[in-house]
Assembly symmetry: C2
Homo-oligomer: 406 residues x 2
Amino acid sequence: MARIVMKFGGTSVADVDRIKNVARRVKTEHDAGNEVAVVVSAMAGVTNQLVDYCRQVSPLYDAREYDVVVATGEQVTIGLLAMALQDLGVAARSWCGWQVPVMSDGVHGKARILEIDTADMVRRMKDGQVAVVAGFQGLGPDNRITTLGRGGSDTSAVALAAALQADRCDIYTDVDGVYTTDPRIVAKARKLDKITYEEMLELASLGAKVLQTRSVEMAMKHRVRVQVLSSFVDAPGTLVCDEDEIVEKELVSGIAYSRDEAKITLVGVPDRPGVAAAIFGPLSDASINVDMIVQNVSEDGTSTDLTFTVTKADLDRAVKVLTDKRDELKFARLVPDSNVVKVSVIGVGMRSHAGVAQTMFSALATKGINIQVISTSEIKVSVLIAEEYTELALRALHTAYGLDAA
Amino acid sequence: MARIVMKFGGTSVADVDRIKNVARRVKTEHDAGNEVAVVVSAMAGVTNQLVDYCRQVSPLYDAREYDVVVATGEQVTIGLLAMALQDLGVAARSWCGWQVPVMSDGVHGKARILEIDTADMVRRMKDGQVAVVAGFQGLGPDNRITTLGRGGSDTSAVALAAALQADRCDIYTDVDGVYTTDPRIVAKARKLDKITYEEMLELASLGAKVLQTRSVEMAMKHRVRVQVLSSFVDAPGTLVCDEDEIVEKELVSGIAYSRDEAKITLVGVPDRPGVAAAIFGPLSDASINVDMIVQNVSEDGTSTDLTFTVTKADLDRAVKVLTDKRDELKFARLVPDSNVVKVSVIGVGMRSHAGVAQTMFSALATKGINIQVISTSEIKVSVLIAEEYTELALRALHTAYGLDAA
């Protein structure tokens, strides 16, 4: 017997039949003697419709009223799922965010959960009642409805699991787990049985859209064991857990990529103190996030080349901001390039093993792929390469790190 | 300067354009220096869709979860209307039932409002903020969402007006007021400037679907001045108010009809004490409501005929209940008839004037219309006639009581 939180996203509750399917899944866990809380999203498409209404009424809508409108999506789902469970003979009750309550800060539209009072819910769960909880929503300090921002239901589920001290938080989605890399590109990609929080966090922020980054951060902070699994296939998924739970650690757990990058090179920048601040200050003021940065060694001691990346969406604005400052920055040329991809190898094992980066560089060199920028963290090595090599690089690295499925 | 409650039904907020139109109406009252609270229904069609979801999930759905689902309809409208008001520069804030709170009993699906705490709302209204309140919903004793039953938004508005001690409660709808009779049948029907609570109550319960009966009862109890007017036409409507406010009382204010009646005659019922109880007891046990009852004078002192009416929807069940008891009730024949209509003349003036009923009987006799059953109350005379005479009877009575428009 365990206490578990199950979370189902919008595609898993897209219509009445799928809601009934979810009810059957919940019943199975409940019948096994578990205490179960279920967190659900709005039926697929509903939130978009509600957001669209808001935009039609007022382009500059009040975020507090936006929250009132969009929070109804999850409210419909909890009522219907509670009914579907009762119809299967399972005692169930719905909980809106304000009823639990899920206390949040007052930043409407992207609130953060502060505290969840689960006393009443726990009492009812111990009596065998399934708690059906609206994801994505909370109650602000002024007694008004808040929402956590798009994708916030993952965070709701993990926060609830933490508050309930649940044994596990199962995130049901439309993929059946976390893979060593994108299986649409690398046919030999393997589903991972387990992955550490740290690795999942890197994967999540690097574009593997399985879990929302904030939910992984929260799981890591509160040590919530999160399982990612399919709501349509009945099979174990991937457990995101503490490093200690993983007996056989791999050197590299996964290979991620992001096509969302663009590169800017400033050629002939004066090589003097303060030049980096002069360049990145205006970008920061324009809310443009800079990721990788490389400053080349100056050849003549008077000028240097500076290369960095921004998101593709920010590229045009970044070019304009810098061009406007050209007189002040005194660079010779600005070379933008959006035909790049960031490829990263991730693994907690590399903390204690040398040579991980070298394996990457060799594998890419063997395939004739030029590395444009490199950045590293404790558990990650990222390189920027020309976009056309994406598939070739992923396959080569997957093999080089011994990740290919047998 | 006054404090007013404005209520807009589903057709008045059916889409974004109509919500913006409502916002302009509210702005006009607000700009005139009034303190304004607005009560709104769900966008037309939304509640039906939500009810349909519930039925699809579980035919025997839990009323508590039903309330969770259907209450979202009004929640969407309040958020959108608050935004639309803000967009016009009017300070506004939405209020769900649980936020006010509108405390109700725990009879989910058809709850009754117990108390409305308006302290916070009044403070904000005095500061110039328009309160946009979800109709149709409340908060039960167990901190769960309740709904008041279909059409409950009228009741919400009147209850809020009572709690706010509002000067007026304006019910905006798709008709422009209360008429002396159905203008689709009688071309000379006139819009009434004023009507008493008592008369409106009779009209409402007799099928003039302008206001929900419960809302009129509540208005009468708390002496809330209710105005019925069109949300599409800019003109005064009909004021439902205390008798004292009406200087020139008419003998008869309106003529109502209901096609929702069916007649049952039991021929040859033994004429002995207890027979009425023996007949109407089983009908009551089956939750069948009996309206008009006439017992004919017994000719031979041993048997009598009994005629009464039920709703058309209950006719078949009523016939079955009585037929099943035939051995016990010992009637000779049961004659059902659903081709009847109930026509009623209503007016507080008839309290102090004789001859009102006689005018009715004469007018119908002149047109050759046979009266099958008669019932009267202090301010009403109702007759049951063959349905085919509906239009003829309404026009004759409208003329006979001097109600025709000039």
